[in-house]
């Protein structure tokens, strides 16, 4: 069977499973549509959260970023997992006890203010829409590489599949497809990693392999990697970063942002009890951890594999790295996987010194004494995971599995985001503000229509990505960290924060964060409208626009506290509401009233 046929079989098979689940789990009520009926087991929910959370960025891009940045990219590993501690301790159990359908609904009720609810709706839609475009684009890449269709056709196929199971099944359909998608993506991610770990370190468990000895050289893997990359002028893989303040704030922004993203919080509304919300956060992190513990191993091993493919003399024990680096492979002898990926443009070669050999090294270093006139091989971070099975010479079915896994990661996250957007529109905007008298049937129809519109918009933006698509991390996490997380946390842990304080806090956190991002990245991400170049020398106190969400969050807390303390106390019934949210007793299933 050809590789193409295998890929079609794996991707088509996984899609058939998702559609089968959707038909089985059709939503009959708004409760089914928004919270899957409220009876999801915590382990099931944990798995669904895992798929919901792990996006195309986690599956396709993260290991590549770690491979090129080494220790510095640990920010993503800690930031995207540490947020679950905040969720489990500070938000999820209390929001579950509150027992409503959406995040803006809690903010609106707790701060007895429609304006607060609308601010939350806008934050939610901007953050989720930015995020969903990235997923659609990721799905497009997977389609064009593995199914030999162009990205647009691939996107439309993906959109139809998502449309089918999310519009039909709502949260109920999405929950059970996400469980299936989790299994597909984790199997696809770990199988190649196990084989590569065995090959390089004789240890079948990749996270252990990372800290084991490299079999070919007998040295510890990371020590070997450090020697190999420094011989080519790169920084040591494990080198400490200089700007510790920025690393701390970036990690903090990702953690707070993770905890404040509505599509993740919503998943906690689906479990029967408050205690289940706590357990499902733990299970979610176990399932997420399986991938996040494997990723750094994949990263370092793929980096080592890449370098030793180009410089075979570096593969085993090396007496003199200077000599080993003098002998890169000839371009004509490059392995097949480089040829395949050259066709996608994600690997490119430019023979700058016309010697027919591939020089791969840090362009900032000067190796003119070796006759090198610049780095000749550009490798996109995004290919490492997708090319992994080919680099390790694994059989064709593993390649098919990776294709299905990448699509599962992108589609499961897209579905969760689309549900968050559609419920904000049908429940918070239409039922909450425009037409409160809408019937349940009418609301369910509105939810399905807004979901369909959201899919069409996301697909259009996926095909024609706007400037802000590449800024998912800055924009979505910045907004969630600076506006939503502090409002939710203060709503639970303080009885004193009133409507004025909350709105002032959310707006100041949001505006401050957006302005800081726009100053460096361009106003509304329009190229060349930035006021200052986006380089470390220009950042205030060395804080990058990616890390500013944490500062925005602190500002939000401070403003909300100050404004509340000079204005009146919240009314008694609101203080009673806060009180009731704090104790698990008497939590019904998520209700609509």
């Amino acid at each position: 069977m050809s590789q193409f046929a295998i890929n079609v079989l794996f991707v088509g098979g996984s899609f058939a499973i998702y559609i089968g689940i959707a038909i089985w789990a059709k939503a009959g009520s708004t409760r089914d549509f928004y919270v899957a009926g409220g009876g999801v087991h915590p382990i099931t929910n944990g798995m669904a959260i895992g798929a919901d959370w792990m996006s195309a960025a986690s599956f396709i891009s993260m290991a590549g970023i770690i491979a090129s940045a080494g220790y510095g990219a640990s920010t993503f590993l800690m930031g995207w997992t540490g947020g679950y501690v905040l969720l489990a301790l500070l938000l999820a159990p209390y929001l579950r006890k509150f027992g409503k359908f959406t995040v803006p609904e809690f903010i609106g009720d707790r701060f007895y203010s429609k304006s607060a609810r609308m601010v939350a709706v806008i934050c939610l839609i901007v953050a989720s829409l930015t995020y969903v475009i990235g997923q659609m684009a990721g799905a497009g890449v997977a389609f064009s590489r593995f199914l030999e269709v162009d990205a647009t056709t691939g996107l439309i196929i993906a959109a139809i599949v998502v449309f089918f199971y999310s519009v039909l099944g709502g949260m109920k359909g999405i929950t059970y497809t996400q469980v299936a998608q989790y299994i597909v993506l984790i199997v696809a991610y770990t199988i190649p990693a196990v084989f590569i770990s065995l090959e390089l370190t004789d240890n079948p468990i990749p996270p252990l392999g990372l800290f084991s000895d490299h079999s070919a050289s007998g040295e510890p893997l990371l020590a070997k990697l450090n020697e190999v990359v420094t011989a080519l002028g790169f920084n040591e893989y494990t080198a400490m970063v200089d700007n510790k303040l920025n690393m701390v704030l970036f990690t903090l922004s990702l953690m707070i942002g993770t905890a404040g993203l509505p599509h993740v919080i919503m998943r906690f509304f689906t479990v029967p009890k408050v205690a289940d919300a706590r357990w499902s956060a733990g299970w979610a992190l176990v399932f997420i951890g399986l991938l996040y513990l494997t990723a750094p191993a994949v990263a370092s091993m793929a980096r080592l594999n890449l370098v030793t493919t180009i410089y075979p003399d570096m593969a085993a024990q090396v007496e003199n790295y200077e000599d080993a680096a003098a002998n890169p492979i000839a371009y004509a002898d490059r392995p097949d996987w480089i040829r395949t990926w050259e066709e996608t443009g994600l690997i490119s070669f430019d023979d700058k010194n016309d010697d027919g050999r591939i020089q791969l090294y840090n362009d900032a270093a000067d190796f003119s004494d070796r006759g090198w006139q610049g780095n000749e091989l550009e490798v996109s971070n995004d290919i490492l995971v997708l090319a992994n099975p080919e680099i390790a010479n694994l059989p064709g079915w593993v390649v098919g599995l990776i294709a299905a896994g990448g699509l599962a990661a992108a589609l499961s996250t897209a579905a969760g985001l689309l549900l968050a957007i559609s419920s904000a529109i049908s429940h918070d905007l239409i039922k909450g503000a425009i037409n409160p008298k809408i019937t349940e049937k009418g609301e369910l129809r509105a939810a399905r229509i807004s979901m369909s519109v959201a899919i069409v918009v996301a697909t259009y933006l996926g095909v024609n990505p706007p400037g802000f698509a590449a800024q998912v991390v800055a924009l979505a996490f910045g907004i969630a960290a600076a506006s939503l997380f502090p409002a939710l946390m203060m709503g639970i842990f303080s009885k004193r924060i009133n409507n004025k304080g909350a709105i002032a806090g959310m707006l100041s956190g949001l505006i401050f964060t957006l302005v800081y991002i726009f100053v460096y990245k361009g106003w509304f991400f329009i190229p060349d409208t930035n006021n200052l170049p986006d380089t470390e020398a220009n950042w205030v106190l060395g804080i990058s626009p990616l890390s500013i969400g944490a500062v925005g969050a602190i500002l939000n807390f401070a403003v909300a506290y100050m404004v509340s303390s000079v204005t009146e106390e919240p009314p008694q019934e609101i203080q009673d509401l806060v009180e009731s949210v704090r104790y698990p007793k008497g939590a019904g299933v998520a209700i609509d009233h």
């Binding site: 800690m78 679950y84 800290f211 020590a223 990690t251 009890k273 205690a275 992190l285 698990p584 007793k585």
Partner: protein, 86 residues
């Protein structure tokens, strides 16, 4: 009623103490051991590199998982002790 109220207040206080403790550990493993205190831990070798690197790419994630289960387990006991569970 007054008894219920003081019981609820005690429950909330115990919860806040538990949260504070867990968040101290949370910050210590990530911002502490993995970033700010890494130079201090540089002398402790782990698989070809140092303990700080291990915390940054593995240890903190394991600690986060442990923390959430620990908190969920402790809270279940608190819910029962104060009779505020479901």
């Amino acid at each position: 009623m007054a008894d219920d109220k003081s019981k609820a207040a005690a429950y909330w206080k115990a919860n806040l103490r538990l949260i504070t403790g867990c968040l101290i550990v949370w910050a210590l493993v990530s911002y502490g051991c993995a970033i700010l205190l890494r130079p201090l831990l540089a002398g402790i070798p782990v698989g070809g590199t140092d303990l700080g690197f291990w915390f940054a790419q593995q240890g903190s994630i394991l600690a986060f998982i442990g923390l959430i289960f620990f908190y969920a387990w402790k809270m279940n006991r608190l819910d029962k002790k104060f009779g505020l569970g479901e």
